[in-house]
């Protein structure tokens, strides 16, 4: 049996990656088998976008947004963010399910570094989220957004980084929570404000003082700003008065890194207190 005595850092990193690929692959495969989940995840946002887009079209005239920008066009990136938010976070419910089913225990007893387990889950959930958001983005031309190749690529990258941060946040919580019901309850508490106060529905330029403050503190504001800037790659003015590229990407990256490290630490800790 070819087992070496020590695990050098290079080999450790390789093991983290290879185990993450295996676990993420499993996540994608399971997702592809759940047809109703895919349909639900795509149809709900479309309905949302059509109804709210049509309903608010006439009333929407906020400052800080180009005058000829219709509400369906303004709202489209917001719906994309919603897809990423909900899919990312709820993909980590599988952590709780895996613990109940016993699958997680087998993974924890395998010679897999904890970082590989977190990365696998996070990458799997994020890819599922970006995949769905990407499909919805194909509707952009119907909203009047002419998406360039560079813009689409940038948008997908931004969505991936956002999704990584959100799945890590979900992992962090799912690791500690006992039941899926509790997870739903706690997550809804986070999700709604994170989405509503990100600029998805209305720009911060028209909001009053404290709402504006919360929006400035919400990391999703920067995710959405980066998304808008990607979609209007060749025409930055149409993105409206949103945070700059540098600020958006900086906050987004920081958010994702902190969440991922947090999830990894949580994952490494469990062995001490597990009973």
């Amino acid at each position: 049996m070819g087992v070496s005595d020590t695990t050098p850092a290079g080999r450790e990193a390789a093991t983290v990656l290879s185990s993450a690929v295996v676990l993420a692959g499993r996540e994608l495969r399971v997702f592809a088998r759940q047809r109703s989940r895919i349909a639900g995840a795509l149809l709900t946002p479309v309905v949302f976008w059509l109804l709210l887009g049509a309903g608010l079209r006439a009333s929407f005239r906020p400052p800080g947004v180009p005058a000829d920008l219709s509400y369906p066009e303004y709202f489209l990136p917001g719906v994309v963010l919603m897809i990423v938010l909900f899919t990312s976070i709820f993909s980590t419910i599988s952590v709780i399910e895996d613990r109940k089913s016993g699958f997680l225990q087998a993974v924890l007893a395998a010679p897999v570094p904890r970082g590989g387990i977190v990365l696998g889950k996070v990458a799997g959930g994020s890819l599922v989220a970006v995949l769905q958001a990407g499909l919805f983005l194909a509707l952009a031309p119907f909203a009047g957004i002419s998406l360039s190749a560079a813009g689409a690529a940038a948008a997908l990258c931004v969505l991936l980084v956002t999704a990584m941060g959100l799945t890590s946040l979900g992992f962090l919580l799912a690791w500690r929570v006992e039941s899926t019901q509790a997870f739903h309850a706690i997550m809804n508490l986070f999700l709604m404000p994170m989405w509503l106060l990100s600029g998805a529905f209305f720009p911060s330029t028209g909001a009053n003082g404290w709402v504006r403050g919360v929006m400035t503190a919400n990391p999703m504001t920067y995710g959405l700003a980066a998304l808008r800037r990607s979609l209007y790659w060749g025409d930055p003015a149409r993105a409206g008065e949103v945070p700059s590229w540098t600020l958006s990407l900086g906050v987004l990256a920081l958010f994702s890194i902190i969440m991922f490290v947090g999830a990894k630490i949580a994952c490494e800790r469990i062995r001490h207190s597990d009973s």
Partner: protein, 316 residues
């Protein structure tokens, strides 16, 4: 003297204030099947979790294939295969996908892994189930996949926690056939926990645990022989009253378990005729047997395993 695959010295464990395992020492010879047996709360699952690296060792020392479990858990993980009490299969994946996922987590290269999967599907009679979703398998089949999964990386030690729980009698018989196969062909040392004494008796050696302590250790036949004598089991009407009267009549202790009186005597053949004569019409059946591990447990702890386990034995 065969080398020890597992060597445990002074191992202890506590969950908060509750002591689950106290100063336990034992060694499992290479290539043997070894049972950790005892009622609930005896510490067998704690020992299983400590050896499988799922719990951190704080007190004492454990070595697997010479590796220190506390200091080298990742190397230990490569040497052991684990079968959990609860199935660890992904129900949405097929049998083959479950195996492939596991093999890759253990770092098997794809060619070697493919070969290994084909081989194990054959050994466990799963060839025609390879494309079935794990969630649709019966308990017995799922258990077989579980064992195949644990053997993928050719571990030298296979740890199993209550592997026959929830299996019907046919699937249990099947399970034991595969355990022997595993020991002989793999070849691997098999260490399993069970609360069923008759299952422990099928193993080469047993360790009987009670209240976190080791109360007996050795070959089942040797342990039973130590008890000596015969055990008489009597089914009778009005059994609690009968128990008292039989105890007076024979001048021996009488235990009642699962509606049956149990009496230990030196020579059963002498006692049975006297007993049947003394209680005409009261006895429905009498049987005689040599002591088994249940009697060993009784001798060491003063309790019947049936009482210690409680309702769990009702279906056994």
């Amino acid at each position: 003297m065969v080398a020890a695959e597992v060597d445990v010295r002074g191992l202890g464990h506590r969950y908060g204030d509750r002591i689950a395992l106290r100063d336990l020492s034992l060694s499992v010879p290479s290539g043997s099947t070894y049972a950790l047996v005892g009622p609930n709360g005896s510490g067998k699952t704690t020992l299983f979790r400590l050896l499988s690296t799922l719990l951190r060792i704080v007190e004492g020392e454990a070595r697997i294939a010479g590796l220190d479990v506390r200091i080298q858990p990742s190397l230990v993980r490569r040497r052991i295969g684990i079968v959990f009490q609860h199935p660890s299969l992904d129900r949405d994946l097929t049998v083959e996908e479950n195996l492939r996922c596991q093999g890759r987590l253990y770092g098997l290269a794809s060619e070697a892994l493919r070969h290994r999967i084909v081989c194990l599907l054959g050994v466990f009679g799963l060839e025609d189930r390879r494309a079935d979703r794990a969630g649709r398998l019966s308990g017995g089949l799922a258990r077989r996949v579980e064992i195949a999964k644990a053997l993928l990386h050719e571990p030298s030690l296979v740890l199993m926690d209550e592997p026959t729980t929830g299996l019907d009698p046919a699937a249990r018989a099947d399970f034991w056939a595969y355990v022997r196969k595993m020991r002989d062909e793999a070849p691997a040392t098999v260490l399993l926990t069970t609360h069923l004494m008759d299952e422990a008796e099928r193993c080469d050696r047993v360790a009987i645990l009670d209240g976190g302590r080791l109360v007996a250790e050795g070959r089942p036949s040797d342990l039973s022989a130590e008890v000596g004598g015969d055990v008489i089991l009597v089914e009778a009407n009005a059994r609690s009253e009968m128990a008292t009267r039989v105890a007076e009549f024979l001048g021996r202790r009488v235990e009642v378990a699962d509606g049956v009186l149990r009496i230990e005597v030196e020579k059963g053949a002498d006692v049975i005729p006297r007993l049947v004569e003394a209680f005409p019409g009261r006895i429905r059946s009498v049987s005689l047997r040599k002591p088994n591990l249940e009697d060993v447990f009784f001798h060491k702890t003063g309790r019947l395993i049936a009482h210690a386990v409680g309702s769990e034995t009702s279906w056994a």
